[in-house]
């Protein structure tokens, strides 16, 4: 099972996890990213490059399936305007091996952070809007997986 969705709408995590659990692998790992409302942030606007996003996420998913013995994988990434507390991204993995499920989940979220063509603009209560700068730390984490 491999499910990839790039969408504006929220999603049902329990449905995603139930689908992964039903595969019979014994282990399901997940990571969910949520908008933090720090520093007066009122909304996060996510822009993406649709023609490229699908290709890149598909490639990252294939890479994970090749590196770990996964029996299922689900990646959901939202775009558009999101307010604090809303989910941005979900990665779920299923495997017979808990290590494979957890590691591939970390791998996928690290790659989404530094290789998926999304850009975040932070909107503040005072009306200011800033494009979020990429973090060298995120790039380093993605590169760690290349070793």
């Amino acid at each position: 099972m491999k499910r990839i969705a790039i969408q504006t709408d929220d999603f049902d995590i329990s449905a995603e996890l139930a689908a992964l659990e039903a595969l019979g692998g014994g282990g399901v790992a997940s990571f969910t990213g949520i908008v933090r409302g720090e520093d007066g942030l009122v909304a996060l606007e996510l822009e993406h490059y649709p023609a490229m996003t699908q290709i890149q996420v598909e490639r990252i998913a294939q890479e994970a399936m090749a590196r770990w013995p996964l029996i299922g994988l689900s990646i959901i990434h939202r775009h558009g305007r999101l307010i604090p507390g809303e989910r941005i991204v979900f990665v779920g993995t299923a495997s017979r091996h808990r290590g494979a499920a957890l590691e591939s989940c970390a791998f996928l979220i690290d790659w989404l952070k530094s290789r998926a063509p999304f850009w975040k603009k932070a909107h503040y209560a005072d009306g200011a809007g800033n494009w979020v700068a990429s973090r060298a730390e995120d790039e380093a984490k993605a590169q760690d997986w290349d070793r």
Partner: protein, 86 residues
């Protein structure tokens, strides 16, 4: 004459004030770096967005590439800041 469709994202798009345009190439051997320098020379929002290539990333036909890559017969060149997904 060879041409490519440029697509812009995030603050590159905002500074230039459009999300897409068609640009003629000097030759198919023209690299992304050379084209970016040529566009920055237009001044205004182009200069603002493109003057410092270190702040930019590029994708040619939806694949990440370096700025020394020749544009060749590619259909679409995207210019954007480092990504911040996840």
């Amino acid at each position: 004459m060879a041409a490519v469709t440029l697509v812009y994202f995030a603050w590159v798009r905002e500074a230039i004030g459009r999300d897409e345009e068609r640009v003629d190439l000097v030759s198919p051997d023209e690299t992304i770096g050379e084209l970016v320098t040529r566009l920055a020379a237009r001044g205004g929002g182009y200069a603002e967005a493109l003057a410092d290539p270190d702040r930019l990333r590029a994708a040619l036909d939806q694949q990440f590439v370096g700025f020394d890559q020749a544009i060749g017969t590619a259909r679409e060149l995207a210019l954007f800041p480092p990504v911040t997904g996840g």
